[in-house]
């Protein structure tokens, strides 16, 4: 079968239109990842070198106390942040779904922090948690002279302050997504549960939550990605301090890319971050696409 010239032109045009997409994917995404991967196996410092050193940079990375601390912080932060956001976001969604008055106003209040930048959030909470002028001082002035809330300058507690600030910012997003999920549930399931005499809390736990599986999974992946990327909030709120107590991998990498001029080490760190993300996201996407194909096959 000969392809008519017009058909050929059409194919060409649609391919040409995708040129920006193709070049972005190949150069900016694939290309940079592969390049970083290459650099991580060299001993590049300020400029890329071609001298291969095998796994040396990775070994140095995991010998570096600051890197290990940043991973520790990230793990602790991640668990707390994701758990708090999911629970708070879910509860907010459930309670708002109870046909309350001023629902629109409440939703606006819970979601506006998400419209603010991470930098702004970090700065506001830095101010609020300032021991000398912030909440601690204010409560003391109100008469509780022994009140102490100086977590932000406490090496052991500072990571929790970042949790508080970012949970404040992101819970609204979780609420919005969960609420959309809740609203997508067939009204008649509620009616059937009422007739069956199932108490409201039990309906949420045994029927609604399992039905929201895909939504919960999506939210989890979004939150996880945000955790791995956390940088702006830390820089603005604590600058990684006090000392290095709130160091996070993203900040470690940035510093070694620019300030400390050790791009090989930094690249090794970024590849480790990448693998962490892929480890979670790849299975998620696979399950997603398989279930989507099953659904499509059914209809």
């Amino acid at each position: 079968m000969t392809i008519k010239p017009k058909q050929l032109l059409r194919q060409f045009v649609s391919w040409a239109a995708l040129l920006p997409l193709a070049s972005t994917v190949l150069v900016a995404y694939l290309g940079t990842v592969l390049w970083s991967l290459k650099i991580s196996f060299t001993n590049s410092r300020t400029f890329p070198s071609d001298q291969y050193v095998g796994w040396a940079q990775y070994q140095r990375l995991f010998d570096n106390d600051r890197w290990l601390l940043s991973l520790q912080n990230l793990a602790l932060y991640g668990v707390l942040f994701i758990a708090a956001c999911m629970v708070l976001g879910f509860l907010l969604a459930v309670f708002i779904d109870q046909k309350v008055m001023a629902e629109g106003a409440l939703r606006t209040v819970f979601l506006y922090p998400y419209a603010m930048s991470f930098v702004a959030t970090g700065l506001v909470w830095q101010w609020m948690l300032n021991p000398g002028n912030g909440i601690q001082q204010a409560v003391r002035q109100m008469g509780y002279a022994d009140f102490s809330f100086d977590w932000i300058i406490d090496q052991d507690m500072v990571i929790y302050t970042i949790v508080i600030a970012t949970v404040w910012q992101a819970s609204g997003l979780v609420m919005a997504l969960m609420l959309a999920g809740l609203r997508g549930i067939d009204e008649e399931i509620w009616k059937a549960a009422r007739i069956d005499g199932i108490p409201t809390w039990r309906v949420y736990v045994s029927i609604i939550l399992p039905m929201l599986g895909p939504t919960v999974a999506t939210v989890f992946v979004l939150l996880f990605t945000a955790v791995v990327k956390v940088f702006d909030s830390v820089v603005s709120m604590t600058q990684g301090g006090p000392g290095t107590a709130s160091e996070v991998p993203a900040k470690f990498i940035m510093e070694h890319l620019f300030g400390r001029a050790n791009i090989a080490l930094a690249s090794a760190g970024s590849i480790v971050l990448l693998l962490t993300v892929l480890l979670l996201v790849l299975p998620f996407m696979l399950v997603r696409s398989r279930s989507a194909r099953v659904q499509a096959g059914k209809s």
């Binding site: 008649e188 009616k191 059937a192 007739i195 069956d196 005499g197 199932i198 399992p210």
Partner: protein, 357 residues
């Protein structure tokens, strides 16, 4: 088995009065069908009986007890929904037993009830499947099963067959009729489909605009409709309507319209004929016969073959009248034919009040 008694029910949504001053007595063990077009209030009435909607005024008794403000689960009812409303992440068995488990019913009793319902509805091989793995007809059976295990006195059905295709609908209709025959439970069934109403009901309640238009056994509602709405709603093709005058004569009563005059003395008028009045005459297509000795003349406008019969549309006096003819036809489109109206089978309605005379 119990009966349902509704007195002076009023249900309002905001400013909109959906049900006005409604009285209804449902007998024990009957299969009552609430029939009407969308928005007539039949679903609202059913939901009020179930307790899913709060009423504004009136009283609902179920099984002799006042249930106007009782929780749905305390009303001794079971309900089947249009979209089945099965719990998607639970197996069939769990779907049916979940409510009983919550109530703390002993395991043996749950097992007995589930097995009984599964047996009645041929669900035994499906007990461990999830709703997503079932067909529409199977899902509906599970929904019925979930209502059955409650061993309630009254079963409520909210347009349960609307989501199924025509063939499945006919099949499940028969199963429902058998179910009623075996259980002898009181069943209240909402539908807009008159075929379902006619085949399933022991009594039909025709509703429109929040009010009951007529209650009666299917044949009664079909053959002697109380008003123009009921007359036009039941029957397919719809009843033919002719506008004219009722002229009482010395010894008979005649219906006169443009081009048609009919002796209707055989018609059982409710009140004395009185003076000349404007009326509407209704005659069903099957009672309008086309034959060579017919009283009136018309042109064949359209013929719809239906398999074992034909629907023939006649143009008469500027209107289209339908007639049902079984067997082969002896005429074609555009032919002139003669037809008669079976005077024993007509309905007369007052033009202004639309009520049956």
């Amino acid at each position: 088995m119990s009966s349902v008694s509704i007195q002076k029910l009023c249900v309002r949504f905001g400013a909109n009065e959906v049900i006005k001053d409604l009285d209804l007595d449902v007998q024990q063990s009957e299969f009552l069908v609430l029939l009407g077009p969308s928005g007539c209030g039949k679903s609202t009435l059913l939901h009020s009986i179930a307790g899913l909607i709060d009423v504004n005024d009136g009283r609902i008794d179920i099984g002799g007890q006042d249930m106007t403000w009782a929780d749905p689960t305390d009303r001794n009812i079971g309900m089947v929904f249009q979209s089945y409303a099965l719990y998607p992440t639970m197996t069939v068995e769990r779907n049916m037993s979940f409510g009983l488990r919550i109530k703390g019913t002993p395991k043996a009793e749950i097992e007995r009830r589930v097995q009984r319902a599964a047996h009645m509805l041929h669900l035994e091989p499906l007990l461990q499947r999830k709703p997503a793995q079932l067909s529409g007809g199977q899902r509906q059976r599970v929904a019925i099963g979930r209502a059955l295990v409650r061993e309630a006195g009254v079963f409520l059905f909210d347009e349960p067959l609307s989501n199924l295709d025509a063939k499945l609908r006919a099949e499940l209709r028969r199963e429902l009729k058998l179910l009623h025959k075996n259980l002898h439970s009181t069943m209240i069934y909402v539908t807009h489909d008159q075929v379902e109403a006619m085949t399933l009901a022991t009594r039909i309640v025709v509703m429109y605009a929040g009010r009951i238009q007529q209650i009666g056994v299917p044949s009664e509602v079909y053959e002697r409709p109380e008003n123009l709405f009921v007359a036009g709603f039941l029957g397919s093709p719809a009843m033919n309507f002719l506008h004219g005058h009722l002229k009482p004569d010395a010894d008979s009563v005649r219906f006169e319209s443009h081009g048609l005059s009919l002796d209707v003395r055989a018609y059982a008028l409710r009140a004395q004929a009185g003076a000349d009045r404007e009326v509407v005459l209704g005659i069903r297509p099957e009672n309008l016969q086309i034959h060579a000795d017919g009283q009136f003349e018309a042109t064949v406008s359209l013929i719809e073959p239906m398999g074992n019969h034909h629907v023939v549309w006649l143009e008469f006096d500027g209107k289209l009248l339908s007639s049902v003819v079984s067997g082969a036809l002896s005429f074609c489109v555009d032919d002139t034919v003669r037809f008669s109206l079976d005077a024993d089978r007509i309905s007369l309605f007052d033009r202004a009040t639309e009520q049956r005379l």
